[in-house]
């Protein structure tokens, strides 16, 4: 295994040829499905109350990549989303801002303009999102367009077909190429775990993405079911923890899709805390790809402060 005495040098070595990369990935310790799911379920029983809950709710808000990825997106919709990102709770200026707004490449400029000077990043999906079924040239161009329009973060998809057929080198090279095309932008690599299916695959894909230069590994596009799940996120958190032990580098994790309630978000934060550790309780290293989650966090936040649940109409739609 890689963690105890494998340094950066020997990890560079594993990517020196497709054969070595393949052996390395297949040599990673297996994940027992029953055990991983049981561990996630146990972490989900933690009871987070009062001060701990207040901390977790505010942290979760600051970790949101507020997302709209629809064919029907318009500049108007994106402007509205940006307004929400800046001031999530119109009734309560103490509610923190979200981490980023996530859109398709053609709407990056709109978002960038709206979020100027706020410290909120603009994230753009790229690389023929969500299927990734296009040529490398187009994926590179897609990425460059997004970055040129001002994207601070690029959320790319991996070629799941190549991964599942064992062409790890191809997946690696593609991530590396996008890494280069993205320049200074933060690169989030979407594994689409709902299509990889097994936890063994999730662990291998996580390592593959990290070795190829990902700043973040992300579960899902949100277009495939199941999207993010707690056990998948647990396995990815174990991967970034082990990668950190091997290299000293911190890689972020972003579960995306399907996280709709504050209660769920808190389960994820507990899992982060007890798996990767407190270092990862930071928007720089953990994000939620979500849209409807934000309102539930705000509602719970108000409940905690005032003792009452405001109705859903007291929170804005987008």
């Amino acid at each position: 295994m890689t963690t105890t005495d494998t340094g950066v040098d020997s990890l560079a070595d594993v990517t020196s040829s497709e054969d070595r990369l393949r052996r390395f990935l297949l040599g990673l310790p297996g994940v027992d499905q029953v055990g991983a799911e049981a561990r996630a379920a146990t972490l989900g029983t933690r009871s987070i109350k009062t001060t701990a809950k207040a901390y977790a709710l505010d942290l979760a808000i600051q970790m949101i990549d507020l997302t709209t990825l629809e064919g029907q997106d318009t500049p108007g919709k994106v402007r509205a989303l940006c307004a929400k990102a800046k001031r999530p709770d119109p009734a309560d200026p103490t509610a923190p801002q979200v981490a980023a707004v996530c859109v398709y490449p053609d709407l990056v400029a709109t978002a960038k303009f709206e979020l100027k000077g706020t410290g909120i990043n603009v994230a753009s999906v790229a690389t023929a999102f969500p299927s990734g079924r296009s040529s490398l040239a187009i994926k590179i161009q897609d990425t460059k367009d997004a970055v040129a329009a001002g994207a601070d973060e690029v959320d790319m998809v991996i070629d799941r077909g190549a991964f599942l057929s064992g062409r790890y080198g191809l997946v690696f090279d593609e991530i590396a190429a996008i890494r280069e095309a993205a320049g200074d932008a933060h690169l989030k690599v979407i594994l689409e775990t709902g299509e990889l299916v097994t936890y063994d695959n999730v662990r291998r894909a996580s390592w593959l993405a990290m070795l190829a230069g990902a700043d973040f590994i992300k579960t899902s596009t949100g277009k495939v079911s199941p999207a993010a799940t707690l056990p998948v996120t647990l396995v990815m958190l174990e991967a970034v923890r082990d990668y950190h032990e091997a290299t000293g580098l911190h890689i972020g994790v972003k579960p995306a899709g399907g996280i709709r309630t504050a209660k769920d978000a808190i389960k994820y934060l507990v899992t982060v805390n007890e798996t990767a550790g407190p270092d990862w309780l930071d928007p720089e290293l953990f994000r939620f790809g979500a849209s409807s989650l934000l309102n539930d966090l705000l509602m719970q936040r108000t409940k905690l402060a005032t003792g009452n649940y405001p109705g859903p109409d007291y929170f804005t739609l987008d």
Partner: protein
């Protein structure tokens, strides 16, 4: 950014109603003890006295056995299985309805974390009654002959580590098979058994079918030695089990004994590492290690020793030790001062014999009985901490080089209750399971229980099986 500190999340005690004193439950009613002295049961987490409990003397034992005999002869024995099943289903449902209350009571009296009493003990207790309720009218299909008959009156003595669960393991199959019972809970944890007596009343169970008498070793001895008893079922220490076996020798009493263990938890180099670490933790720190089948001897293949140890220690650093009623507590209180003294003594022996002792930093409460999760490394087969049952949160780590060596070391113990095997190779799991002399072999998991699965020991871990179809046989004549 500040750290994510979990605020206290205590489960409310308001749901339990503990009386200041309890009598004995004989013939369907609580009665005063006639010849014993009352004793106190305390919360091991705070040493607070919870209640005063009666001690049953020989005359009380006699009354209880006679009540059970009468109920067996007149009501329960002749009753059709389908009618017995109705009572068992009713009890199972009442346990589910009152599960939160029973979980809180169990954690208070025993010291185990509420997360475990709520998520493990109580669901299994109800499941056991449901499972055996299903058997009550199908005994002729249990593999115990064409027309299996109950044994009569069962004397049952249970330990303090899983008070209500051990009660369920004993009472459910006995009643399903048509026996009546006199059960004695451990002296440090009588409260849930007494709550179960109330449930029997609530379920309208005919008087005398279940009798609960409280007391310590003397009461237990009087019960198992009573001549009106047809069957003795005991779970507890090997020393007491041996004494019971001697005392019933030469009588026609049937006996099942579920005794101590020193289980090997065997980790191969191809094990799913993160789940294995969870399994090691669950194997030895579940229920503060007060588990007869605890994975107290960790056998790690030398090639992954450093990595497994590093990960295990890191994981142990996240264990939360403290108030059993806090929903976020992973490790609760040691059940009694006596048990704490034994754990301390054997741990000291471990150090004296040259093993290296390690515990994560953790603040222990000042009141009550506490012991931190502890690992001993550099342990060899010859060390006492590798041979004797510590019955606490103390893990001894040994190594092996080949599967054959793992089997030899695992079997090289007077006990044989359980074992664990961690590997990705299916064929090796099957080979190991055939070689290991243990009643239960878990593969890529540990401390998993199910009412359908038989449980019991080899060698000094006892004889007879509880659970499953096999568990019925212990209560049937054929």
């Amino acid at each position: 950014m500040s750290r994510f500190e979990y605020a206290p999340a205590p489960e409310s005690r308001a749901i339990v109603d503990i009386k200041s004193s309890y009598g004995l439950f004989i013939n369907g009613a609580f009665t005063e003890a006639t010849d014993g002295k009352p004793f106190k049961t305390v919360s091991p987490a705070s040493e607070e006295v919870l209640a005063e409990v009666s001690e049953a003397g020989p005359a009380d034992v006699d009354r209880a056995v006679k009540a059970a005999r009468k109920a067996y002869d007149k009501v329960w024995g002749p009753m059709p299985g389908r009618d017995r099943a109705k009572y068992l289903y009713r009890i199972a449902r009442l346990i589910q309805e009152r599960s939160r209350e029973l979980a809180v009571l169990e954690s208070l009296d025993n010291g185990k974390p509420i997360r475990e009493s709520r998520d493990v003990d109580l669901p299994l207790v109800a499941a056991h009654f449901f499972y055996y309720a299903g058997w009550a009218d199908k005994l002729e299909y249990a593999g115990a002959g064409e027309n299996p008959q109950p044994l009569g009156v069962a004397a049952q003595v249970i330990p303090w580590n899983f008070p209500l669960m051990m009660l369920a393991w004993k009472i459910a199959p006995a009643l399903a098979a048509g026996n009546t019972v006199v059960l004695k809970p451990a002296e440090t944890t009588p409260l849930t058994a007494l709550a179960f007596a109330e449930i029997c009343q609530q379920a309208d169970l005919p008087p005398g079918v279940v009798n609960i008498i409280t007391g310590a070793g003397r009461t237990g001895q009087a019960l198992v030695e009573h001549e009106g008893v047809d069957k003795v079922a005991f779970t507890g220490s090997t020393a007491v089990g041996r004494a019971i076996a001697k005392s019933v020798a030469g009588t026609d009493k049937k006996v099942t004994l579920e005794l101590g263990g020193k289980a090997a938890n065997i980790v191969f180099e191809d094990a799913p590492i993160d789940q294995t670490v969870e399994g090691i933790v669950n194997g030895i720190f579940f229920n503060q290690g007060h588990v007869c089948c605890a994975g107290s001897r960790l056998l790690v293949q030398e090639s992954v020793y450093d990595e497994v140890l590093a990960r295990l220690k890191r994981r142990m650093g996240t264990l939360r030790v403290g108030d059993p009623l806090d929903k976020n507590t992973d490790i609760g209180a040691i059940n009694s001062a006596e048990q704490l003294a034994r754990i301390r003594e054997l741990s000291q022996v471990g150090e004296d014999e040259g093993s290296e002792r390690w515990s994560p930093e953790c603040e222990l409460p000042t009141q009550g009985f506490w012991f931190p999760p502890t690992v001993f490394t550099g342990v060899s087969q010859a060390h006492r901490i590798a041979r004797e049952e510590i019955f606490g949160p103390v893990l001894s780590v040994l190594t092996f080089r080949t599967p054959q060596e793992a089997v030899e070391k695992a079997n090289n113990t007077p006990f044989g209750l359980s074992a664990g095997v961690w590997t990705d190779k299916g064929s090796r799991i099957l080979w190991m399971a055939n070689q290991l002399r243990a009643g239960v072999v878990w593969a890529n998991t540990f401390n998993r229980f199910d009412p359908t699965s038989p449980f019991g020991g080899y060698k000094e871990s006892g004889y007879g099986r509880e659970g499953g179809r096999h568990g019925l046989e212990a209560y049937l004549a054929h």
